[in-house]
Symmetry: C2
Subunit: 553 residues, 2 copies
Amino acid sequence: MNKNNKLSIIPLGGLGEIGKNMTVFRYGDDMIILDAGLAFPEEDMLGIDLVIPDMSYISENKDKVRAVVLTHGHEDHIGSLFYLLRQVSVPVYGSKLTLGLVEGRLKEYDVAAPNLIPVAPGDSLTLGPFKVGFIRVNHSISDALGIYLKTPVGTVVHTGDFKIDQTPVDGKMIDIHKFAEMGNQGVLVLLSDSTNAERPGYTKSERTVTEALDEHFRSAKGRIILTTFASNVSRLQQAIQAACAYGRKVALLGRSMVTVVNKAVELGYMEIPEGTLIGAEEIGRYPDNQMLILTTGSQGEPMAALSRLAAKNHRSLQLTPGDTVLISANPIPGNERSVGRIIDSLMRLGVHVVYERASGIHASGHASQEELKLILNLVHPKFFIPVHGEHRMLRQHGKLANQTGVPKENVFIGENGHVFEFTAETGRFAGKVTAGKIFVDGLGVGDVGNIVIRDRRQLSQDGVLIVVVTLDKNRGCILDGPDIVSRGFVYVRDSEALIDEARNIVKNVLERFENQPITEWAPLKNGIREALVKYLFAKTGRRPMILPIIMDL
Amino acid sequence: MNKNNKLSIIPLGGLGEIGKNMTVFRYGDDMIILDAGLAFPEEDMLGIDLVIPDMSYISENKDKVRAVVLTHGHEDHIGSLFYLLRQVSVPVYGSKLTLGLVEGRLKEYDVAAPNLIPVAPGDSLTLGPFKVGFIRVNHSISDALGIYLKTPVGTVVHTGDFKIDQTPVDGKMIDIHKFAEMGNQGVLVLLSDSTNAERPGYTKSERTVTEALDEHFRSAKGRIILTTFASNVSRLQQAIQAACAYGRKVALLGRSMVTVVNKAVELGYMEIPEGTLIGAEEIGRYPDNQMLILTTGSQGEPMAALSRLAAKNHRSLQLTPGDTVLISANPIPGNERSVGRIIDSLMRLGVHVVYERASGIHASGHASQEELKLILNLVHPKFFIPVHGEHRMLRQHGKLANQTGVPKENVFIGENGHVFEFTAETGRFAGKVTAGKIFVDGLGVGDVGNIVIRDRRQLSQDGVLIVVVTLDKNRGCILDGPDIVSRGFVYVRDSEALIDEARNIVKNVLERFENQPITEWAPLKNGIREALVKYLFAKTGRRPMILPIIMDL
């Protein structure tokens, strides 16, 4: 091994954002990729379905990639794997549940079945110059892993998404001994989850949710409808246990709820007593106080089951007064308004809705400040890179690291594409590689860029107005038209006078070009556009996109 | 006065929503309108500038309207006044600052100068069968009023937007004695602000902000940039006092900041010592530690001064490391992400940003649960209508009323347009009048409805594709085209093959109609549309709006 080789850590996603996590570890000519996530589009990314990391750096170095390692099965960690596997064909390591969820998604994508290799906490394996080991962590999905990476220059620890649950529901606590052991042996770099770095104190144990749920199950008189993230297997397990304790059957609503529960049961991450689970179509056969319905839509997603229930257009279930809806999740920032609207709609149906933070029926899956400091102290790394968070969260996490003794100059607040380079002694920012957002829209990956989005934005604001005219190109005179078609601009039936006048304006412009052969179209089109923009803005205060189309004979 | 007359209370806005507050009080043939606010569009109201209440009920009864009464100068209470005054020409009553803000806005609208009549707390006046009195309340704008309305069937109290600030900065506490006196005399109906009905405890006094601000002013080494709602006159006054105490000049950025401060100074609601205020262009002349800059944009509004500062494109100021930005406002639900992005951008500039709730530099302007209960207990009304809140907040406020002794059947959780009818003894839901949202888009009021919005939504998702062809209408053959123009669908330069094939598909459809006179266009256009939808979806997974336009000769 070349003594001059350095370890590079290159986040391609997840820094300065919550979402599309992906990190490259490179030593010489060997690379490992940790996680391959997606992000959901922001409100100004009109029409975009998903956002994935720009993987140019990986495709430029595809012969160096040894493996993909997944920490857990959430979309922001596995959702771009299928796009990544189009670039590189390498083994994929992850826990059993993670790989189960990956498998469930594979059929949606046109990608060859990858080589999926299950690992368990405590396992380790050698990948080129790296020895990769897996550490159990607690998170809002079962079977989540942190990793350590022994490299020729030193050890790297990456927490993955985690919290420290001292009383986990499944009894499987985060392996704090392993973090301590790593710290004792000496850690060069720690990368740690910053999602809740702004939140003081400790994150509540999942077990506190058990008690809160129990209370609501005890007092509910009608059906109970519980919504949470479909991937939150522990939460679903708790709800099912409560259902059994109070003699309720369980039905599942929503495609991802069905998929995840089946997969979790199949892999042994969830236990549902025989006869408990019924089909959605059987709900009507049981008395209201013997039903628990688990449903998707806790984030107010408009097409999810809970939205349909609130809007009274779900095909297999109608809510009625007496039903109780438990919203066992907090709205992700940006979703408050849509969740609020759903709660309001449910209440208008007379349904009892339990949703406040204070109700205790939700606990976050990410560590708060005291837990973050504990990990920092256990691992006491020489260098620290806060990951998995928006910029201000990374900064706050950086401050926590300073407080626990990591010197300021050893904390790297990065951006996607930054290269952090380490020797056994030193760490430094060593330039940038290509990184960014690739938009997935329908089947297109990366074909929608800023120009298309800018057009969509203009169309969304004031619509479009199309002017078509057929001209005699030799004499410049009008043969047919101008015809005007508009969409999203004004309600056409109420705007005849406006459109008639617009037509006259176009005619006036065309008159200027009459009686001469037309050699270029641009002056004519620009003339039409300018005259219409001016007229329409004066009359309506709006600026529709104006598209003049000239046919000629 | 007719013994059979009843009092009707008809909310036209503000129920089931935060925004566009407007309530009609009617007794026989006399009506008073309380507040005339606007709402900002929700994210799915594409291209809409403002939302105002449907005022059909008012225009159908315009001869009955005696007056408009305004509680305070926030947009959600005065922003649709200008549209209302196009319907009815009646006196407008409000406090001095409220009317000052109304006057400042009048010139933006094409409406005759209304008859603005200033009132002060303690005043009362007779308007037909109503005696209207004004009560001082605390809120996040100065000069806010609650009202009482003595009617032939009993007294109504409406709190307006309020909190109970026991230590207000201007020394002018809410007149709780008046609320107590009303309660003693007997109140038929109370209407009260539900904004914070879900929040336990008490809302902090504005004075607590003084201490927090002082600490940041004491420790700041460079310029201080403070952002809050421009209308929060007390907050701005506090910031200016802190500036004076620490020897800083004050500059204003943002149009509404300049307008409100000038108006507040002119009317005596704000005092700025001589020589303190400087022009934005003079900022550079003073050392950094002698500057306070007050700016708009606390809600992340993309065109406001703070967004421009964060994006480094403000024309009169460039932020530098060492500057401190104090965000003295909480994001309104729905704005968290845009505010978060601005904080991140500021931090990337090296600016110190103070923004957490915990920082103490903001206090809400609305009463929390303990204050709401206190008002309920002081007024102890026979009937209660929670107002100014989304449905779940109204419900929660209703529960608080039950807790303070208002029977369940006397609490009315309403919707906009509901008519609540009262005699001296009874209260009941008495049907509905027209109510709803009217969209303002540019100069158009109400001309954009669901069809236009639906088109904008489709355009925003996948863009538009226009097919134009000139046909010989007698022989059905193509004279020119088909030409295809698309916007917001694909990046055209990369999609030549797709568009070429689309053109062929159109030609194939047209062939079916060849060699015969064309008598109707619909089958031809539908044929084109169907063929293209199918092809484009198969190729791209997208569904652009397809507009076939046929010219004929």
